[in-house]
Symmetry: C2
Subunit: 133 residues, 2 copies
DNA sequence: TAATAAAACGATAATAGTTATTATTTTTAA
DNA sequence: TTAAAAATAATAACTATTATCGTTTTATTA
């Protein structure tokens, strides 16, 4: 059994902060923003709670290419896009699940409980900047 | 312009080794295996070449959840599966590209040049072991 | 409300994975 | 066969993350 959660101001602040952001901040960014309201919060606390919350499915962890993980406070089914130019991570709202699960069940004998689909390329901003050159 | 490649015994050994493996080894595993034939090879050389080769598209880098990256010597279109029980990474051979690109182009204005789709759950072995309990 | 146990904390040390530095060696082409 | 470019081994440095530990906070119960 996992231990019962006790309320903590720090954890609540982390969840609240993530809910205000659509840009999927890293642990470090969460930390430096929260220090404004909670000057004594520790980076370890941020990491601990981000892991705890994503393990419990309350937030999403997005891992791209060896760099720092990003976190998403919104857990409805959607996908992510990581721009190769600016490094930003943004949302792509669409529903592929049925399509993907139908197809993969024909091709794999194990049990698939989740999938991560990450797109990469140039975001609209960087695309237009590049075209201007 | 990127520098012209010069042949190196170490890089060739890395490519050859990856071609013999279907289990997507990490840099560390590549290193310890290659030391049998090249006792003086350095871990830095392994990392440098794995990055160089994946940047050039000759091998694939597979990033899952903060742990060490895995590398795949086969670059034809296929997807990966990471078992939550044993941590192994294996292949799923299927073609979703058209399906995915068609759908995503309706939902995103940037330019998508690649996508990474990683499945997770229980591999056939761990699934049958779990059922036996 | 005071005592207590569990959970969470902050500070910081430690670790894993990876990248950078540098002096030396290897490769390639003139 | 020499010279420039690239690659190497060894190792230091770095980044992201996790672990440790003594203290504080939270929730429960006497």
């Amino acid at each position: 059994m996992q231990p019962t959660l006790k309320h903590s101001r720090q954890r609540e602040a982390i969840i609240d902060f993530l809910k205000t952001r659509k840009d999927h901040p890293t642990a470090d960014i969460v930390y430096s923003n929260l220090r404004e309201q909670l000057p004594n919060i520790s980076l370890g606390t941020v990491y601990r709670n981000l892991s705890l919350l994503s393990d419990r499915g309350e937030i999403l962890r997005i891992s791209c290419d060896g760099k720092a993980d990003h976190f998403d406070g919104f857990t409805h089914p959607h996908y992510h896009f990581s721009c190769k130019e600016c490094g930003g991570v943004s949302d792509i709202e669409m529903d592929l699940s049925d399509l993907i699960y139908d197809k993969v069940s024909d091709n794999f004998d194990g049990q698939i409980t989740e999938h991560t689909l990450l797109f990469a390329g140039l975001c609209p901003d960087c695309l237009s900047t590049n075209n201007d050159l």
